[in-house]
Symmetry: C2
Subunit: 403 residues, 2 copies
């Protein structure tokens, strides 16, 4: 299978090209593929030795970059250090659930501590980080992994680390909503840098594709498009499949987001070619920073399931290809983390860049929102008539080939 072969082949396209191309050509290809920030590729950032040593000894990838903005006369730079973590689950899915949960927490503790020591201000974890991505099975026993967003053990665990490192942490979990009859949601909990809960957001768009049988477990979110105003800027969370929906990205931007995280879990051939496109397009189109995070590894389940593709039953979902990255509003982009290992991405983002790019490119200015509000109002009517201009020749009688 192509994906498996590629795992042996290279950790990321960027690293492969940097090792293979002559330096001058690499520089040009890098410019076309990853853009420029202030006329240069996004610059690498030095991290404390304790962080790189931890990455080495604990076997996780670490990359760090810096997005700069121009100096302004009336505002100081607003540099926020963001972090993204991608990770595989630790124990087999056949192990007792509590042991699985604890092992993931302990693995995460190592990487979150590294982020804290790297001085990260706002950190985001991957989608449903507390559990294997078990929705492919359609089995309901996995619902046991759901927790209260406000009082669950995972939230308490994150609160402790947020407080310890003065770090905002976005914690995407499977939420058990006790206040509404024990229903489930796919929820990102926003933990403030004082360990407080700022709020939560529930995934807006739920996939009905391949093995993503999430609509068997939870519904479309009912929390709108909230932007969370933190000590380190205005952030929002577009959870996983919402990245295919340009409107979802846009509404967060219209509500004022400066950084939007996209915690995801997506696999191999299905989506890997989309991955470098969608979150990056969102950063450009909405003039904000995006942190795109994808799970890593292959998870095997005890009972076989089918994928609705006519192929034999099987026990795994495919390879989650990691490749987390940060994209800037000026079309610049970092290389991505490993396609096969756990990883921590650190990026300094001068939030002043957002307004600077807005002023330069004028996308909001020229957006004609009234036109689209009107269009959408028409579209949602059951008797909506699309604006189609039909070639008259399609309806005129043809005589001997002459119209």
């Amino acid at each position: 299978m192509a994906t498996e072969g590629s795992l042996q082949g290279f950790e990321s396209v960027h690293r492969l090209l940097s090792e293979t191309l002559p330096p001058q050509l690499f520089q040009e290809v890098q410019r076309v593929l990853l853009g420029c920030n202030g006329g240069k590729p996004v610059q690498t950032l030095s991290l404390p030795a304790i962080v790189t040593e931890s990455a080495q000894s604990q076997n996780f990838d670490v990359l760090a970059y810096s997005f700069s903005a121009a100096e302004e006369q009336l505002r100081k730079p607003r540099v926020v250090r963001i972090g993204l973590i991608q990770n595989a689950t630790v124990l087999p899915t056949t192990d007792p659930y509590e042991r699985q949960m604890n092992s993931i927490r302990e693995r995460l503790r190592t990487i979150i501590e590294a982020a804290g020591k790297a001085g990260v201000n706002v950190l985001c974890l991957q989608e449903a980080w507390t559990m294997p991505f078990a929705f492919c099975t359609r089995e309901k026993s996995w619902c046991e992994f759901a927790e209260s967003a406000e009082r669950g053990k995972s939230t308490q665990f994150i609160q402790e680390l947020a407080r310890k490192y003065n770090m905002v942490i976005v914690s995407p979990i499977l939420e058990r909503d006790e206040a509404h009859g024990d229903t489930l949601w796919n929820t990102a909990v926003i933990i403030g840098n004082h360990g407080n809960i700022i709020g939560k957001h529930r995934k807006n768009h739920i996939p009905r594709v391949g093995d993503f049988n999430e609509s068997s477990y939870y519904m479309e979110g009912n929390t709108g498009h909230p932007v969370f105003e933190t000590e380190f800027g205005k952030i929002a969370v577009n959870i996983c499949y919402g990245r295919h929906h340009t409107l979802n990205w846009q509404a967060f931007g219209m509500n004022g987001a400066e950084i939007v995280f996209n915690p995801s879990a997506t696999v191999g051939d299905l989506s890997e070619p989309m991955w470098p496109i969608e979150a990056r397009n969102a950063a450009i189109a909405n003039t904000y920073f995006v942190g795109a995070i994808n799970r890593v590894g292959t998870e095997s389940f005890p009972n076989a399931f089918t994928s609705g593709d006519g192929k034999p039953e099987h026990k795994d979902f495919g390879h989650f290809y990691g490749s987390s990255y940060v994209a800037g509003p000026d079309a610049s982009c970092t290389p991505s983390l490993s396609r096969c290992r756990d990883g921590l991405m650190v990026a300094d983002c001068d939030l002043n860049l957002c307004q600077q790019v807005k002023d330069k490119w004028g996308f909001r200015l020229t957006a004609r929102y009234e036109l689209y509000a009107k269009f959408f109002n028409e579209y949602i009517k059951p008797d909506f008539k699309p604006q189609v201009v039909r070639d008259a020749f399609l309806d005129s009688p043809k005589e001997n080939g002459v119209y």
Copy 2:
């Protein structure tokens, strides 16, 4: 300057990598960068020798690919052959206007004839193909290049070729609107395959960025988001800067477009890193084919102008980097045409792929349009209140560093 250097370096990233990487690695990088169509890279297509010979002798690039779809039980394949043309102007901008116009038409005739002989069904030319992209100058004499969409010489010229080759041709020109007081528009004229005029579309979003001083010449279009139903499928045109507006792409899709062309004129460092992202994201997000076309070459003007960037006055706008390509709804994509030469891209598109991908990925199904209609209705109100959840700690008094 990076762009100029790169012109000597490579014609396209794809060609550079195919010449430099070991074959197996190239295959994997290609999969990640350009996706798969039916499990393989988009396949190359053979063209008649007369076409490739013409490209050789007349010095234009030619590439041809085929996007396939799965077989269905109830529908036959609907393969449409589309064509994109990118070209430089021919004569200096100091030459008499009529000679400039004629020379472009004759150059275009050669490439359009090649498209016709290649069996293209629907062809699209670049933005304002009839003229140098003179808006950077802010001089009004260039308005002489504007023509009637219905009766101008350029339209007549295209009508003749459309009839000759039974080919729908999208002809983007600077329109002189006599019926409304001689005002100007940036307009795509849709010429049917019988030489008839099916309709026209006027550019919806007008840039206020860098040297794109187009808002000094014409206004935002008043033709909505029309889809033109031709003998060869439903097509629409997102003109140039409209590609930065995801709503513009989306409205064409909601009106039923199966192929959307994006005739453009954009330069060097400013936008080249965005170019492979935006049109391709639109194809994915809206589940249709996109043909993205960019002008080629560097155009020098008689009188110097400034760019609002504090740099000295100058006479050219930068290098138009070509790189036209076709993107499929399944995230597959062709390599792009040359960054420095005229070119013809031919692509067979089985339009059945659109509905197949809609059924597979379900983006329309899961789009929640009602939510966004409501959101936009609120947003356009002057007293719109963004949905912001503010960390309560930002407002609580801080005492000795303890909250």
